[in-house]
C-alpha cells in the first residue's frame, strides 16, 4: 500500500481551482502518460496510463470514477485496472479537498489517498514503487499548478516524456510515440 498525502498551495481563487478539478479531462491532462479513452453512460471513464518503473514503461488500463461534492468542496477519485498483460493490478482511491485561504486570493488543495499494486510488478519493484508514486504525485502537482495558474510558470525544460519522444524520433523517425503506449497486438 502506497500512501498519498499532498497539500498544494495555489495563488488563485478557489473557484478557478475547482473549475479545473471538476473537469476530468483537465485532471487527467495533469497526469503524465494518462489519457481518457472513453466516457461511459454512467458517468465513469475508461482511461489509460503509462507508468515509468525504472527504465520500464508499463501501460495500465483503468476504470475511473469521479464523484464531486461542490457544497463540501470535495471530490473522490477512484481508479481500478490492470496492465496490458493482466499480470499486475492497480487500485487507487483519493480524496481531494479545495479550501480557500483567507481573502480567497489563494487556495489550498489537499490530496489524501492510497495506491495499491498487486501482482508480478509489485513484487518486482518493492520499495521502488513508493518512489514512483511520489514522483508521479510531484509531477501531477507541478502540472496542476501550471494549469490553474499558468502565469506563474516559466518556460520549463522538456518533460521526461518529451525527452523520450525526442530520442525515439531521433532513432526511428516518425512521431516518436513510444511503442509501449500502444503495443502491437499479438496474433492469436
Amino acid at each position: 500500500m502506497i500512501k498519498i498525502d499532498e497539500s498544494i498551495s495555489l495563488p488563485v481563487p478557489k473557484a478557478q481551482v475547482w473549475k479545473v478539478l471538476s473537469d476530468p479531462h483537465a485532471v487527467v491532462s495533469c497526469i503524465n502518460g494518462a489519457e481518457i479513452v472513453k466516457e461511459n453512460e454512467d458517468g465513469s471513464y475508461d482511461g489509460r496510463l503509462v507508468v515509468q518503473f525504472g527504465p520500464l514503461r508499463v501501460g495500465f488500463g483503468a476504470h475511473v470514477t469521479l464523484e464531486l461534492d461542490e457544497a463540501e468542496s470535495q471530490g473522490r477519485i477512484a481508479a481500478r485496472g490492470k496492465d496490458q498483460h493482466g499480470a499486475t493490478r492497480m487500485s487507487t482511491h483519493a480524496l481531494f479537498t479545495v479550501l480557500p485561504d483567507p481573502g480567497d486570493q489563494s487556495t489550498t488543495v489537499t490530496l489524501v489517498g492510497e495506491v495499491e499494486l498487486a501482482g508480478k510488478l509489485a513484487s518486482q519493484m518493492e520499495a521502488g514503487a513508493n518512489t514512483v508514486v511520489r514522483r508521479m504525485t510531484t509531477e501531477f502537482t507541478a502540472n496542476f499548478v501550471a494549469l490553474c495558474a499558468p502565469d506563474l510558470v516559466q518556460e520549463k525544460p522538456p518533460t521526461r516524456w518529451q525527452r523520450i519522444r525526442l530520442a525515439l524520433r531521433r532513432l526511428f523517425g516518425g512521431s516518436g510515440r513510444p511503442a509501449t503506449v500502444e503495443p502491437a497486438s499479438r496474433p492469436s
Binding site: 515509468q52 518503473f53 525504472g54 527504465p55 520500464l56 514503461r57 508499463v58 501501460g59 496492465d83 496490458q84 498483460h85 499480470a87 508480478k120 510488478l121 518486482q124 519493484m125 518493492e126 520499495a127 521502488g128 514503487a129 513508493n130 518512489t131 514512483v132 511520489r134 514522483r135 521526461r160 530520442a167 525515439l168 531521433r170 532513432l171 526511428f172 513510444p178 511503442a179 509501449t180 503495443p183 502491437a184 499479438r186 496474433p187
Partner: protein
C-alpha cells in the same frame, strides 16, 4: 568383489574424474576404491561446499558433476546446494552414504529419500546388492536426461555385501544416444511470417544456443533480420563480438538495452527459456511477438504464456532453416542495426551516476572496470551472489574463456566453491571470483581447500561490511534500522595469507592495480579484500528500491 567396489567401477565407467566431498563412515570404502581407480578426490571442509564445487564443475564441463557425503548429517548439509543445482538445472550425481538399512535407531539416521524430494533432487535407492550397476546407471541416466541433481543413496551394510555380476558395466550414455531434433517445416513457416512482418527484432540467446554451437548462424540471422543480440544471464557475454550485442536481457540489462527491448516487435529466443527474469515478466517486450526455439518439447515463458511460435528443435538446425527461408525470400533489413543504435550502444555500459565515497573506500564500479581491463580473457570469471554482484554482472563485459554466474535460489555463499569446481573442470586454469563479503565469509574455510589443491583462484571480495541487500532495502523502505545489517570483517587479505595463500587489503585503486598485476603474473590462490563504499548503489537496486531510471 564388494558392492562398494562395483559402485566405484561404475562411476569410473561413467567418466567420473573428480569427486568433491567429505569422507565419513558411509562413503569411505567407496572413496578408497575411487582413489585406486585414479579418480581425483577433493576433501572439503563442508559437504555443501563440495557439492557446490561439483555444481561449478558440471556447469563448466557439461557432464554430470559428482559429490559425496556421508550418512545423515553429511547428507543434510547438502540442502542449499541441492536446491541451487536444481534451479540451475545442473546434472549432478551425489553419492550419499546411508545408515544401515532398516536401523531406525541409527545415530546418523535420516530419511534421505524425503530429504532429497524436499531439495528437488531425484533419488535412487540401492537396497539390493545385485542392483549396484543398475543403480549407478539409473542415477547418471536421470542426471543427464533431466539435467538435475540425483542422489544415489547406499546403506552402509549393502555396500559391504558381495557383488558377483561379471558383466561389464554399461554407461548411461549408451542409453541416451540421440540425434538432434529437426524443426517442423510448418513452425519454420510461421516464424518466417512473423519475422517478415517485423521491423525491430531482438535475438535472445541462452545456454541451449551455446550448447548447440549456433553462434555463427545466430550472428548471420541477426545480420539478415536487423536484430540486436541479447543474452540470458547464464549466457552473459556470449557473441559479444557482434557490434549490435546489447548485453543481458532482464534486470541486468543496461538502460539503453531496456529502451530498445521495449520497442521490439519480435523476439527470437534461441535456446533461452525466457523465464521471468529474462523478460521481466514480459514487461521488457510489451509489443513483441515471440518466436522460441528450444530442444525441449515445450516451454512456458516467464509471463505465463506460450510463445506465439514455438519451434521444437536443436538451436543450430532451426536457425539455419530460418536463415535459408529468409534468403529464399530475399529478405534483408537494417532493423535495429543502424548507425544511431550503434552510437547509443557505444556508451550503454557507462554508469556516471555521481556518489560521494566513504573515506578509505573505492567505488565498486571502478573496481569492475579496472579488473575487466587488467585481467586477460584467458582467466575465467565467476560471479557470486548477493547485492554486490549487481555491479560486476552489468559492468564487466569482457568476453572470457569461461564465465559462470550464480544467482540460483537467491542464496549467497556459492561463489568461491563453484569457482573452485570450474577451475578443476578446466585443468586448473586460473579464474577470478567477484563476490560479496557475506557470501565469501560463509564458506571461507574452502579457501584453505583451494590452497591445499593449488587452485589458482583470485577472490575479489567487494567488501562493504554489510549484508548489502538488506542494508540498501532498509534505507529505501524506511522504518528499519539499516545499521542492523552492518557486519564487520577482519582484513581478509591477511586471512588469505594465514590460510597459506596470498592476499591484501585494498583501499585505493592503485593498490588494486598492483595486486591484480601480481596475480596475473603468477596466479596462485589469492584474496583481495577490496573495501567499497556503501554510498554507491548498483543499477538494479537504483531501479528496484529507489525507483530511479537507471
Amino acid at each position: 568383489m564388494k558392492v562398494y567396489e562395483a559402485l566405484a567401477k561404475a562411476f569410473a565407467a561413467e567418466g567420473t574424474t573428480d569427486v568433491f566431498g567429505m569422507m565419513g563412515d558411509a562413503n569411505m570404502y567407496w572413496m578408497n576404491e575411487l582413489d585406486k581407480l585414479g579418480i581425483s578426490l577433493y576433501e572439503v571442509r563442508h559437504e555443501g561446499a563440495g557439492l557446490a564445487m561439483a555444481d561449478g564443475w558440471a556447469r563448466t564441463n557439461g557432464a554430470p558433476g559428482v559429490a559425496t557425503a556421508t550418512s545423515g548429517p553429511g547428507v543434510a548439509q547438502l540442502a542449499t546446494t541441492l536446491l541451487v543445482a536444481s534451479r540451475a538445472r545442473t546434472p549432478l550425481v551425489v553419492f550419499g552414504g546411508e545408515s544401515t538399512l532398516g536401523d531406525a535407531s541409527a545415530v546418523q539416521g535420516l530419511d534421505q529419500g524425503r530429504f532429497a524430494a524436499a531439495c528437488e533432487t531425484g533419488f535412487v535407492h540401492l537396497t539390493r546388492p545385485e542392483d549396484a550397476y543398475e543403480a549407478v546407471q539409473e542415477a547418471f541416466y536421470l542426471a543427464r536426461l533431466e539435467s538435475r541433481p540425483i542422489m544415489l543413496s547406499v546403506p552402509m551394510d549393502i555396500q559391504q555385501k558381495q557383488f558377483d555380476d561379471d558383466d561389464t558395466y554399461v554407461p548411461s550414455t549408451t542409453l541416451l544416444a540421440r540425434d538432434p531434433v529437426f524443426p517442423n517445416p510448418a513452425a519454420i513457416e510461421k516464424a518466417i511470417d512473423v519475422i517478415s512482418r517485423s521491423e525491430r527484432p531482438v535475438i535472445i540467446v541462452g545456454r541451449g544456443a551455446m550448447a548447440s554451437g549456433a553462434g555463427a548462424e545466430i550472428r548471420q540471422l541477426a545480420e539478415t533480420t536487423g536484430a540486436i543480440v541479447a543474452t540470458t544471464l547464464m549466457a552473459k557475454t556470449w557473441l559479444s563480438e557482434d557490434e549490435y550485442h546489447v548485453g543481458i536481457s532482464g534486470l541486468y540489462a543496461t538502460k539503453t538495452a531496456m529502451e530498445l527491448f521495449q520497442l521490439a516487435d519480435c523476439v527470437i529466443a534461441v535456446g533461452a527459456g525466457l523465464n521471468k527474469y529474462t523478460t521481466e515478466h514480459g514487461y521488457l517486450y510489451p509489443g513483441a511477438t515471440f518466436i522460441q526455439i528450444d530442444q525441449k518439447a515445450h516451454v512456458v515463458m516467464g509471463d505465463g504464456r506460450g510463445a506465439d511460435v514455438f519451434i521444437h528443435s536443436d538451436a543450430k538446425l532451426a536457425v539455419q532453416k530460418l536463415q535459408e527461408a529468409l534468403q529464399a525470400k530475399s529478405f534483408r533489413q537494417a532493423g535495429y542495426r543502424t548507425p544511431d543504435v550503434k552510437e547509443r550502444l557505444a556508451t550503454a555500459f557507462d554508469d556516471n551516476e555521481p556518489y560521494e565515497l566513504d573515506p578509505g573506500t573505492v567505488d565498486p564500479r571502478d573496481v569492475c572496470r579496472i579488473l575487466d581491463d587488467a585481467i586477460p580473457p584467458e582467466i575465467g570469471l565467476v560471479i557470486g551472489g548477493g547485492q554486490n554482484i549487481c555491479f560486476s554482472t552489468i559492468l564487466m563485459t569482457k568476453r572470457r574463456r569461461m564465465l559462470l554466474a550464480n544467482q540460483h535460489f537467491g542464496c549467497i555463499g556459492q561463489g568461491l566453491t563453484t569457482a573452485m569446481g570450474a577451475i578443476t573442470a578446466t585443468n586448473n586454469q586460473p579464474a577470478f571470483l567477484m563476490e560479496g563479503d557475506a557470501g565469501f565469509m560463509m564458506h571461507l574455510p574452502e579457501f584453505e581447500t583451494a590452497v591445499r589443491y593449488g587452485m589458482p583462484v583470485l577472490v575479489v571480495v567487494m567488501n562493504d561490511q554489510l549484508l548489502g541487500a538488506e542494508y540498501h532495502k532498509a534505507v529505501a523502505k524506511g522504518g528499519i534500522n539499516p545499521d542492523l545489517a552492518r557486519v564487520s570483517t577482519p582484513n581478509l587479505g591477511a586471512v588469505g595469507v594465514a590460510l597459506g595463500g596470498q592476499g591484501s587489503l585494498v583501499t585505493n585503486l592503485d593498490d588494486l592495480r598492483t595486486a591484480v598485476a601480481k596475480y596475473v603474473a603468477s596466479p596462485v590462490p589469492t584474496i583481495l579484500d577490496v573495501r567499497i563504499s556503501t554510498s554507491v548503489i548498483s543499477i538494479p537496486y537504483r531501479r528496484l528500491h529507489f525507483g530511479m531510471e537507471a
